[in-house]
């Protein structure tokens, strides 16, 4: 028990200690690229709390969430169709696997060429890029639903809607969730890329602008904020996932014991 407490405290203390060390080491820094952490934190507060909160942070987050929502819903729906209709699967598989291999960031210039530099471009890029991980995971999840569960649905004459929503969806849930988590990471990356390539608003755009204008503490403030958002979004996802898929964790724990 003592060992566990020690490990826990190591886990919490180490990141804190590292930040403290960074603070101390950079305190009197004259290096242009690595200014004092204190200066960075000052700019962080000035920029994001709450000056550019509405105009840039909320803007970026809104694009992210919108694109992500479209991608995941479309991914699950198309995934269901692809998984359950053999002809659809045979026809779409090659196209899907080709498109998913394109580095997501490369889609941004495509969309810029088609619909310009506006918000639509950003949301569309995010949505298309984030579509594929969820889509592919949904197909995999549904294809690997236990045949016994399918037989149970048939024997008890569940309606088609019940089969899809009450059996297939929860059964494929863990795999769909994994895909959605990757989709979130892809969406985040493309959000930043779409802003850096073609925008003057948004956290990514501001960070790049700061770098180009040699406003280094501002750049660092942007990097830190992006890091916090990336970490935070993933954390929220994990918490939600663990809540909704608690049954899965429980059953696997028992299976492995």
């Amino acid at each position: 028990m003592k060992r566990k407490a020690l490990n826990w405290s190591l886990g919490i203390a180490t990141p804190v200690l590292l930040v403290a060390a960074w603070w101390a080491a950079s305190a009197n820094s004259m290096n242009t690229f690595f200014p004092p952490l204190s200066a960075i934190m000052i700019r962080f507060r000035q920029l994001w709390l709450f000056d550019h909160f509405g105009s840039d942070i909320l803007l970026s987050l809104r694009n992210l969430l919108l694109g992500y929502a479209v991608a995941t819903v479309a991914g699950v729906v198309i995934g269901f169709v692809t998984a359950l209709v053999p002809v659809a699967r045979w026809a779409l598989d090659p196209v899907i696997h080709f498109l998913r291999g394109i580095p997501p960031v490369a889609l941004v210039p495509i969309f810029i060429s088609l619909i310009g530099f506006g918000i639509e471009m950003r949301v569309a890029s995010i949505a298309l890029a984030a579509l594929f991980p969820t889509l592919i995971a949904t197909v995999d999840g549904i294809r690997s639903v236990d045949t016994t569960l399918k037989d149970v649905s048939s024997v008890y004459r569940l309606t088609r809607g019940e089969k899809l929503a009450q059996v297939y969806l929860p059964a494929a849930g863990p795999q769909i969730a994994s895909g959605m988590q990757v989709s979130l990471q892809v969406a985040f990356i493309v959000m930043i890329a779409s802003e850096m390539l073609g925008s003057s608003e948004g956290i990514g755009a501001m960070t790049l602008l700061a770098q180009q204008s040699f406003m280094i503490p501002d750049m660092w403030a942007g990097i830190l904020l992006l890091g916090v958002i990336g970490f935070g979004a993933n954390l929220v996802f994990e918490l939600l996932k663990n809540r909704i898929l608690a049954w899965h964790a429980g059953s696997r724990r028992l299976a492995n014991s």
């Binding site: 016994t148 008890y156 929860p170 028992l254």
Partner: protein, 264 residues
């Protein structure tokens, strides 16, 4: 000594010249060939046979999960063409047949949703089923939190709540320990007595078949054929200790076993 009343011998499930072949042409594999037998209302009939003879395939055909190649199975004269509404199936692999994301209670409830029952009746059926299998205390647990025997009881409760007229069970007690097996066998008889169900059990355990059945269908050889249908004349109600101690029990057992053991 009571024998099941012959007047009640109304055929419920009739299997006529049932055959099942997988594949076609050169790679065709005939699993079941020309099976004919009948199950009467309120009977417990066990199907026994050597391992791998095709008992599970037969059940899948009867449950409408697979199409038959020739011949037919019929309920009350109506040909089985897909999962019949009056039938429920208890699977051999109980842990895989229960939905791990649902509690015991919700698992039992799942097949009842589309029956559109009033809420009171719905809950009453679930409660009755849980009580019949002795799992009222576990209603809010998840299947994977329960032992193997309890999981199988959940599957049985699910079938019970569905109120089928014909209950088919695929080697239901094969993977539970001996003590639990005896409890579940008695539960099976109790269900037949309380609910008047017609029950068809596939088992490889001859003792179990003799204990449970009114009649035993003996399958033999690959592809499977009906070797004989044996009437079991043991007195009712059956009891694990006294029934199994009867001389007739041993006789019947030997009879069935030798039929299976006989070289094809």
């Amino acid at each position: 000594m009571t024998v099941r009343n012959a007047a009640a011998a109304l055929p419920r499930l009739e299997v006529t010249a049932l055959s099942k072949t997988y594949g076609s042409g050169a790679s065709a594999k005939c699993v079941i060939e020309d099976l004919t037998f009948t199950v009467n209302t309120g009977e417990v009939v066990c199907i026994v046979g050597p391992s791998g003879v095709g008992k599970t395939t037969l059940l899948k055909c009867l449950a409408g999960l697979q199409p038959v190649t020739s011949g037919a199975a019929a309920i009350d004269g109506r040909k089985i063409d897909g999962p019949p509404a009056e039938m429920a199936l208890v699977f051999q692999d109980y842990s895989r047949s229960l939905m791990p994301w649902l509690t015991v209670r919700k698992n039992i409830r799942l097949p009842l949703r589309h029956l559109r029952l009033p809420a009171a009746e719905l809950n009453q059926r679930i409660d009755t089923a849980l009580e019949a299998v002795g799992l009222t205390h576990a209603a809010n647990q998840y299947p994977w939190q329960l032992s193997g025997g309890m999981q199988q009881r959940v599957a049985i409760a699910r079938a019970l709540a569905y109120r089928p007229e014909i209950l088919i069970m695929d080697e239901p007690f094969a993977s539970v320990d001996a003590q639990t097996r005896f409890e579940l066998e008695d539960l099976c008889l109790k269900i037949r007595d309380d609910f008047g169900m017609t029950i068809l059990v596939v088992t490889h355990d001859i003792d179990e078949a003799v204990y449970l059945s009114d009649r035993v269908v003996v399958l033999g050889a690959k592809p499977a054929r009906v070797l004989d249908v044996v009437g079991i004349d043991l007195p009712a109600p059956r009891d694990q200790i006294s029934s199994r101690a009867l001389k007739e029990f041993a006789d019947q057992r030997t009879n069935v076993l030798s039929m299976i053991r006989k070289p094809a």
